[in-house]
């Protein structure tokens, strides 16, 4: 399922890049026709579109996206692997942070429903959801770098990672907290929780053994695609904190009309997202025996 889907995504991306007006060699000044002719020949653009598509697809299937048109001499694969680790590092850290904060806050809020903690954490979650990260990022830099001098605004170091990771994690933590709270509230009202209590189990066991699994199922469906999105890099956070990640490169490649690079990154991201969705589906099976394959 993954491979045909990926090929479809690549086809659509290729078509969109082609349909869009302009091309990678266009400058403000019009090129002489002879030069344009030469460029077209060099990159195979003089062939009919189906032939170009066929060549592109054949290369993609072999995992060869060719060289970047903008950064000459560098293959697309090299560029992706050079920039992906930056995105992946802050992505994974943000993911872990978001899960830790979101799950804990959600579970506690659901246990102490309508308490001050519940109101506090749900309002905070609402805030986290409504403040966009292009506001939160600069705000954190302002407070922690320029006022308090605690953390660097941009540097690839442990301290330098704190602000981008927090910025990136905020919205996910908020969302996970809300999902967890709602899921837990629903589950803790169910009949089998009453059964567990009637058996004489203490609240901790009731919560951890009987409640948590059902309660976090909505979180699991969210976290798969979320992890993929986090790994893929987020343009805003990478821009704000000057991180040379994939998100940054992706936007650049689109602006440069760097077709091989665009296709390469899209293919990479789509496979990433699909793999994580697959992982989510598999983990459902572990959580819920009812959807396990016979």
């Amino acid at each position: 399922m993954i491979i045909p889907m990926a090929l479809l995504v690549i086809t659509l991306t290729w078509a969109l890049v082609r349909i869009a007006p302009g091309n990678f060699y266009t400058q403000e000044k019009k090129l002489p026709p002879a030069v344009e002719e030469n460029i077209k020949k060099k990159y195979g653009l003089d062939k009919p579109w189906y032939q170009q598509y066929g060549i592109m697809m054949w290369n993609v299937v072999r995992g060869d996206f060719g060289s970047s048109l903008k950064y000459e001499g560098q293959t697309v694969n090299e560029i992706i692997w050079r920039h992906f680790p930056y995105s992946a590092t802050i992505g994974i850290l943000a993911y872990v942070l978001a899960l830790l904060i979101g799950l804990t806050a959600g579970v506690i809020a659901s246990l102490k429903q309508n308490s001050i903690f519940d109101y506090g954490s749900t309002s905070l979650a609402m805030l986290g959801l409504s403040v966009p990260n292009f506001v939160l990022g600069p705000l954190l830099v302002l407070v922690f770098s320029f006022w308090l001098y605690w953390l660097p605004p941009a540097r690839w170091s442990l301290a330098g990672l704190v602000l981008p990771v927090v910025t990136l994690a905020a919205i996910y933590a908020a969302y996970i907290a809300r999902l967890t709270r709602a899921g837990m509230l629903e589950v803790m009202r169910s009949d089998y929780i009453r059964t567990a209590r009637a058996k004489g189990l203490d609240e901790k066991t009731v919560l951890l053994r009987h409640g948590l699994r059902g309660g976090i199922i909505p979180v699991v469906s969210f976290t798969g695609p979320a992890l993929a999105a986090l790994l893929a890099g987020t343009v805003v956070v990478e821009k704000v904190f000057a991180i040379p990640g994939l998100g940054n490169i992706f936007i650049q490649s689109v602006l440069n009309r760097d077709e091989p690079l665009v296709l390469g990154i899209v293919a990479f991201l789509s496979i990433l997202i699909m793999v994580f969705n697959l992982l989510v589906d598999i983990s459902y099976g572990f959580l819920d025996p009812r959807i396990r394959y016979e």
Binding site: T195, R197, A198, G200, R209, R290
Partner: protein
């Protein structure tokens, strides 16, 4: 324990209220009953009459807030349950008082194996090791008549049919050999044929293990063959209380008479339209000052609508909450005599 005089559970003036946006819902409003060792008590009433809340109160399982036991005594085997700390209550739950719930589809945890759910009770209360608990769980499944118990033990609830799940619930409830079993509508969600099997199973196990049972139901047919005495509840109150035999033969409350008339009797009433009590149960958040049943009662007078009825003692074991309890009782006795002639 000698001072308990063979009484396993006595509930006195129990009041459990729920705080809602609509006002205070008096789900249980002054319930008194007593259960002797080895006896079976039936609690009958329509949905929302407070039968389940009464028993959840005994187990201290009322979700708080919004619910709260506001008054009354619950004495189980000489222990004042209301005075216990929650940790002490947990030592009674599942071990000395066990419960079976209405819907076996939702009462078992869908995420855990049957074995896990059975084993955790005995490991907690009887201090079983893993192996002991597993062996005990297997024994219990066999006891409740689950075929091929060995393989089924490691399956999940969704792999069981409704009747089999209720058997699992019963196995779980009886794991620690409890003194009191509370069965809250144990057969309501099951097919009629399965209902009979489950009731038979409870009856059989009760006889074998000497457990006292409280059977909650809205089906008079269910309690008839199972119970020693019956409480009829309506709007959070005890409307009538009598031995099963006497309640069926000579009811002293118009509500009970209505319920009895609503039971289909194909042998004598074929072709006739089945009787039903008119109207709906009242909103317990806004009860009228008089008798809560007055609106639906065919013999209600102005007295009934204005004044709360007394709890009339017909004889030592038979009480009825009605202004006209004695008259209703006399009518029932007369009808009974006529039938016997």
């Amino acid at each position: 324990m000698s001072e308990t005089n063979g009484t396993i559970l006595s509930v006195n003036g129990l009041k459990t209220y729920f705080q809602t946006e609509d006002g205070v819902v008096k789900a249980v409003d002054g319930i008194t009953f007593e259960l002797k060792k080895g006896e079976t008590l039936g609690i009958v009433g329509e949905s929302g009459s407070g039968k389940s809340v009464t028993n959840l109160s005994v187990m201290r399982l009322i979700p708080e807030p919004p619910g709260k036991i506001v008054a009354g005594d619950i004495v189980f085997s000489g222990i004042d349950v209301r005075a216990l700390s929650i940790d002490e209550v947990r030592k009674i739950r599942g071990k000395r008082i066990a419960m079976i719930f209405q819907d076996p589809m939702t009462s078992l945890n869908p995420f855990l194996k049957i074995s896990t759910q059975l084993m955790e009770v005995t490991r907690l209360h009887l201090g079983h090791t893993k192996d002991e608990a597993y062996a005990h769980a297997l024994k219990m499944l066999k006891l409740v008549g689950i075929p091929d118990a060995g393989t089924r033990l490691d399956e999940y609830p969704h792999q069981f049919s409704g009747g089999m799940r209720q058997r699992v619930m019963i196995a779980m409830a009886l794991s620690c050999d409890p003194e009191l079993l509370i069965a809250d509508e144990p057969t309501t969600a099951l097919d009629v044929t399965i209902q009979a099997q489950i009731l038979e199973l409870i009856k059989d196990l009760k006889a074998r293990m000497g457990t006292s049972v409280i059977l909650i139901t809205h089906d008079l047919g269910v309690v008839a063959g199972m119970t020693d005495k019956i409480i009829v509840m309506y709007a959070g109150k005890v409307f009538e209380q009598a031995s099963t035999k006497e309640l069926f033969a000579t009811p002293a409350n118009p509500y009970t008479k209505g319920l009895l008339k609503s039971v289909p009797d194909p042998a004598h009433e074929q072709g006739k339209e089945l009787y039903q009590i008119p109207g709906l149960p009242p909103d317990v958040a806004h009860l009228p000052p008089g008798c809560p049943f007055a609106e639906r009662c065919d013999r209600a007078t102005d007295l009934c609508r204005q004044q709360y009825p007394p709890f009339v003692e017909i004889n030592a074991d038979h009480h009825s909450l009605c202004h006209f309890a004695r008259e209703v009782y006399a009518e029932s006795v007369a009808e009974q005599n006529k039938q016997e002639l």
